[in-house]
């Protein structure tokens, strides 16, 4: 993986360079101290991942990452910022895959880099990787969005009621879970529950987030989006009987994976509704074959890739990416979901 670190404080770069020296054979790392320098370096040789500070003189990190998204759509974008307030977060929501905050423990930074590396491998060689970096949000139907806003406007609205609405929609669920799992919240355990995410962020933050998350977008109100989402809710119902004696955390992750199983399809629908919608009428295997032919990867893998680069819990990412493959390890969300989905789709 080729990584470019951008920070106006040379000492930060030197610290990271020394700290990551043991990984120098795995990662090709470059270090620059400004946005313009970063663009120059990328023009000379692209990177797979850019890790940038936000507050820099001249070009800000947000401007830089927007520029990177436009010019190198295959490049993943991560923030490592000293500003950890909500306004700074909201400004960078658009162009950023993952947010880390200073001071970030060396282990946490290494784990985040490894995760990005693994995601790049997931789409290795696929045509779609060339522009997968521009998939920033999952389309949400405007009716679901309006329903969420109505709960937020209601003085009696509770996180539980809001979670009932957001939890049934993949776009808004991923939007709140991305931030709840970022260093902005600063938890060490991953969050797979939408209600917990809402409680952690606070209702005001959720409102602000939904307005900048770009979930209302092209494709939002395409009829196929509603159908795919109904399929997700149906998958949740189908997986529930398998979760009776399962550890609550695993159960939560499995239900989330079921709801988000078609995130990849939703994003592809959002990008090109008329091209992609007909594939949804194909039987599962045929659809996956056609997706692989067109994009180099199935929509399940694209979905897993997105959940991975957005920092959602790793077991959820694996379960979505491998939902139609044989169960890997018993008792994991991947195995549970694959079992729940298998019989009927085969029938």
């Amino acid at each position: 993986m080729r990584v470019l670190f951008v920070d106006d404080e040379p000492n930060v770069l030197a610290g990271i360079r020394r700290m990551l020296r043991p990984r120098r054979h795995d990662w090709d790392m470059r270090f620059v101290t400004s946005g313009p320098e970063a663009l120059e370096a990328l023009a000379a040789e692209p990177a797979d991942l850019v890790v940038s500070d936000i507050r820099m003189p001249g070009m800000s990190g947000v401007q830089l990452l927007k520029e990177v998204r436009a010019r190198w759509p295959a490049t993943l974008r991560m923030v490592l910022s000293g500003e950890s307030d909500r306004d700074a977060l909201l400004r960078s929501v658009g162009p950023t895959h993952q947010y880390l905050y200073k001071p970030c423990r060396p282990d946490a930074l290494i784990a985040a880099l490894e995760r990005m590396d693994a995601m790049l491998d997931l789409l290795q060689g696929a045509q779609i990787r060339a522009f997968a970096g521009t998939f920033d949000s999952v389309p949400t139907p405007s009716s679901a969005y309006a329903e969420a806003m109505a709960v937020l406007d209601d003085p009696e609205g509770t996180p539980a009621r809001l979670a009932a609405v957001i939890g049934g929609d993949a776009g808004m669920s991923t939007a709140v879970l991305r931030v709840a799992n970022s260093a902005y919240v600063g938890l060490s355990t991953p969050v797979a529950s939408v209600q917990r995410a809402i409680t952690l962020l606070g209702m005001d933050m959720v409102r602000a987030l939904l307005t900048v998350a770009g979930v209302l977008r092209s494709g939002s109100d395409h009829p196929a989006v509603g159908r795919v989402l109904a399929g997700g809710r149906d998958a949740v119902e189908r997986v529930r009987p398998f979760l009776v004696d399962v550890d609550p955390e695993v159960a939560q992750q499995t239900e989330l994976a079921a709801m988000l199983r078609d995130v990849g399809a939703l994003v592809l629908l959002g990008e090109a509704p008329e091209d992609y919608a007909p594939l949804l009428d194909l039987p599962a295997e045929e659809r996956a074959r056609e997706e692989r032919a067109r994009y180099g990867a199935s929509s399940a893998v694209v979905g897993g890739y997105l959940l991975g680069v957005w920092g959602l819990p790793a077991p959820v990412m694996v379960a979505v990416a491998r939902q139609t493959e044989p169960p890997l390890e018993d008792g994991t969300p991947q195995a549970l979901l694959a079992r729940a989905l298998a019989p009927r789709e085969a029938a």
């Binding site: 404080e9 030197a14 000293g82 509770t158 996180p159 606070g202 933050m205």
Partner: protein, 422 residues
């Protein structure tokens, strides 16, 4: 009527109408009017004076001699010679004297009084007249205004403190980042060097090196005090990392102090106590034992669990410091929870040094600390106070005996909001 009779005695019919007219006029006046004779006894008063000072059951004549007069703050009783009417009887003109009157009719009135001497030529004596307005509402409004201004000033202070805090947080977070990366690097580097040195020692021990060279290596090793470094460097690195964690948590707390934005959830405070205690073991285990007296069946209270946990943590840390400072043997920190009328109470008791009485007012001020430099930030109790009182509408009190210990009591109100279904 008696009073009027005294004034208007021996009247002719022709005077009757004029008296009636005058009485109507003074009764219609919105200001109170009181006239006293040379002995200070009541001669005449109007309706407004009666309303302000007397009651339906106690006429003004009856309660008048028993009046108690204080300054406007209601704190100092005025001497008889200071009263406006008394001064007027001495020939003085008293303008706009503000005072508080408590009468036997169980009334407290705040008045602004103007009093004049009134020469009674026919009688050859000096009387006095006082005209007064009830200024209770005016005073209340002024006090309310002052309170609003104080709150506004406080809010502005918090606002600027908030901006300052985010600026400082950014400035501190950046160096903290590279210090922690560098410490990690030094740790890796030291381990690599220690491995190399171990390898050299093993080669020497195997006798693979000539005697003279082995001796030189041993000597060099002793000169360099390698054993000492092998022990102390990892400790220095571990402690540096602990220090960095503390810096990070203070910066985070400072930021949260300035930018509160969290949702209150129905919470079992017993649960909060248990998790906090588990997290904070390091803070007290060297100086004190911890005793829990949990109610076990507390009603849920609407609160931000993380914030209440932070408050509790601060109180436990303070208790541990107070015990350490007392310098006796191991102390005891007791945490007790109980359901009270309309909420839940949480007490943290220690047998440490206690809070001197003259400081108990100030301990909740930001940056106020009695701890040695480097020991406390002066933020803990101010944060606790802010969280409990401002954000949760609760109370935070301290009871303390110097030299014996303190009890901090946190009260969190229940707040009638329904618990959302899980």
């Amino acid at each position: 009527m008696t009073a009027n009779g005294a004034l208007f005695g021996r009247l002719t019919d022709a005077d009757d109408e004029r008296v009636e007219l005058l009485r109507s006029v003074i009764d219609c006046m919105p200001s109170g009017v009181v006239v006293v004779d040379m002995d200070g006894d009541l001669v005449l008063y109007n309706a407004a004076a009666r309303n302000a000072l007397a009651s339906r059951f106690v006429p003004l004549e009856v309660c008048w001699p028993d009046r108690e007069v204080f300054d406007i703050e209601g704190t100092r009783r005025l001497e008889p010679s200071e009263l406006p009417l008394a001064r007027a009887l001495q020939g003085e003109i008293c303008d706009d004297v503000e005072l508080t009157v408590r009468t036997k009719a169980n009334k407290t009135a705040m008045l602004r009084v103007n009093a004049r001497p009134m020469l009674q030529i026919a009688r050859g004596t000096l009387w006095a007249v006082a005209v007064f307005q009830d200024i209770g509402e005016e005073i209340d409004a002024a006090r309310h205004q002052r309170e609003l201004e104080r709150q506004l000033a406080q809010a502005q202070k918090m606002e600027s403190l908030g901006q300052l805090a985010s600026g400082i947080a950014h400035e501190i977070n950046t160096p903290t980042q590279y210090i922690s990366d560098n410490v990690r690097f030094l740790s890796d580097a030291f381990e690599a060097m220690a491995r190399y040195q171990g390898e050299v020692a093993a080669v020497v021990a195997d006798g693979a090196v000539e005697a003279e060279a082995a001796e030189r290596l041993d000597g060099a090793r002793e000169d360099a005090e390698l054993e000492f470094y092998a022990e102390e460097v990892p400790a220095a690195i571990r402690q540096s990392l602990e220090g960095l964690d503390r810096v990070a948590s203070i910066v985070r707390a400072m930021k949260e102090y300035a930018h509160p934005c969290d949702t209150k959830e129905p919470t079992d405070l017993d649960h909060v106590v248990k998790t906090t205690v588990a997290m904070s073991k390091n803070e007290y285990k060297y100086v004190a034992d911890l005793e829990l007296e949990l109610a076990g069946d507390l009603p849920k209270v609407a609160c931000v669990a993380g914030e209440i946990s932070q408050v509790l943590l601060n109180l436990v840390v303070n208790a541990a410091h107070a015990i350490a400072e007392a310098g006796r043997e191991r102390g005891v920190i007791r945490i007790r929870t109980s359901a009270v009328d309309d909420g839940v109470q949480l007490e943290v008791t220690d047998n440490g040094v206690g809070v001197p009485e003259h400081l108990s007012e100030r301990i909740f001020d930001p940056f106020f600390t009695t701890k040695a430099v480097g020991k406390g930030t002066g933020q803990g109790l101010a944060l606790a106070f802010d969280v409990v009182v401002r954000k949760h509408g609760g109370r935070l009190d301290v009871r303390s005996t110097q030299g014996e210990g303190s009890t901090f009591t946190v009260f969190v109100p229940r707040n009638a909001r329904e618990a959302p279904a899980a």
